[in-house]
């Protein structure tokens, strides 16, 4: 029986991008169904009734929700190639820890940076810079967070690389000056076709963020 794999998707979502990258890494054929979040499909509401959010992976009719939970599912089901998580429990824990850090920090703080004004924006900028410092240090001299090859942590973070231009403009930062290792890492990841075909360009992300800001009435 052929596998039926459907992804409830959204181009600019970093969370959906993680799943796209994982599917590409494993060479899985899938159907991408792009959602309009202002008019959510009945499929989305049925498959993710709790959060009503993308991404949702539907595998042979059964839904899996939450991006890094989906990524682990993909890694476990299609275990024959391109392991995303290491096999050693300690290294797996290390990977999960950093994916959790990225989830707790980069998205919400980054969002506050582009979606707020005044003091909230300023303090978000400070917090985001601190987080990137931590990640820059964790990366160190390694080519990838997973060490020699692209892995779970890299996959968790790389969609946020496409937000670097947005952070620079709206946060008045220079990512390459302050975080040269992270920028180098991002460029290295984009050399991989599985990553580059799954991500939007930095300028494209910026344009979309501007549109969202306009809709929400934020300066």
């Amino acid at each position: 029986m052929a596998d039926e794999v459907v992804l409830l998707d959204l181009k600019v979502s970093p969370f959906a991008a993680r799943v796209r990258i994982a599917l590409e890494e494993k060479g899985i054929s899938y159907e991408s169904k792009v959602e309009d979040l202002s008019n959510k499909s009945s499929t989305l509401l049925k498959m993710n009734p709790v959060h009503k959010q993308i991404p949702v992976l539907i595998h042979n009719g059964r839904p899996i929700c939450e991006s890094m939970i989906i990524v682990q599912y993909i890694d476990e089901v299609w275990s024959h190639k391109s392991s995303l998580l290491p096999s050693d429990p300690c290294r797996r824990a290390h990977a999960r820890f950093w994916a959790d850090y990225i989830d707790k920090k980069i998205y919400p703080i980054g969002r506050n940076l582009w979606a707020s004004e005044g003091e909230v924006k300023e303090s978000s900028k400070k917090d985001l810079v601190e987080c990137f410092k931590v990640l820059e240090e964790e990366l160190g001299e390694k080519p990838y967070f997973g060490d020699e090859s692209f892995g779970y942590i890299d996959l968790a973070l790389v969609p946020f690389y496409t937000f670097f231009y947005t952070f620079e403009i709206l946060g008045e930062l220079s990512m390459v000056a302050e975080f040269p290792k992270l920028v180098g890492w991002g460029e290295r990841c984009l050399q991989k076709e599985t990553v580059s075909k799954s991500l939007s360009g930095q300028k494209e992300v910026y344009e979309i963020i501007l549109q969202i800001k306009q809709k929400l009435g934020i300066q």
Partner: protein
């Protein structure tokens, strides 16, 4: 299957505090698997240099140290424990069921704890009403998920039970302090039944922190947040 009933040559340490529901998860998991360990009791006002060395990013408990390997973040630690000591598994083999368990554990931390802790315990007035309404929504989802099952993990305690387990003890305390009933037997009969089942399960029932001490502690935390008391 590699069964390690005895961990004689291993050194397992858990950094915890008496009140932490997160550290409690780790203690439950180790005890459910019959793993011997030492507890290092931390005082969060005066964190030990070792804790700061082991968890420089978050500076929090729990931390698990296993033969020199350091693991932080309770849900990450639970998965490590399950992968290292295979007896009494916390997660099922089937990837879809595994994903489901992880989903509910995450829902507990991201939504349930936020709405009950942040939205009800630490608020009053209109804000508390909103927190209460959000909590009710979240509990509804849990009610639907637990219906027809003894535990979230099925017949035995699993990852989601351990992650949501704080509801079986800490919630009563919140309810007492704020004078509101959250897991009402009539509204959420299956969840109320799970609470009883879990609270009285072997191992779980022997490790609850002192109820009166917790009430005192959370009253102070609530009042500090409302600006009524001196902050810690």
């Amino acid at each position: 299957m590699d069964e390690r009933k005895y961990n004689m040559a291993e050194e397992v340490k858990v950094f915890s505090t008496w009140a932490s529901p997160f550290a409690l998860r780790v203690i439950w998991a180790l005890k459910l698997k019959g793993v011997e360990f030492d507890t290092v009791h931390e005082d969060l006002i005066n964190k030990s240099p070792l804790l700061l060395q082991y968890n420089p990013i978050h500076k929090k408990v729990p931390v698990l140290v296993h033969d020199g390997k350091v693991i932080c973040e309770s849900l990450v630690i639970l998965e490590y424990i399950d992968e290292t000591w295979k007896q009494n598994p916390l997660l099922p083999e089937d990837p879809h069921q595994k994903a489901n368990a992880r989903f509910w554990a995450k829902f507990g931390d991201d939504k349930v704890m936020q709405s009950i802790g942040g939205g009800v315990l630490l608020k009053e007035g209109k804000e508390q009403e909103e927190g209460f309404a959000a909590s009710m929504e979240n509990l509804k989802y849990l009610e639907e998920e637990i219906r027809g099952k003894k535990f979230f993990g099925g017949e035995t305690i699993g990852l989601a039970d351990i992650a949501l387990g704080w509801l079986a003890h800490y919630l009563d305390i919140v309810e007492e302090i704020v004078g509101l009933k959250l897991i009402d037997q009539e509204k959420f009969p299956s969840l109320a039944a799970w609470k009883q089942e879990f609270a009285n399960a072997p191992i779980i029932r022997e490790n609850w922190p002192d109820r009166d001490k917790l009430v005192t502690k959370y009253v102070v935390v609530r009042e500090a947040n409302l600006g009524k008391g001196t902050p810690k």
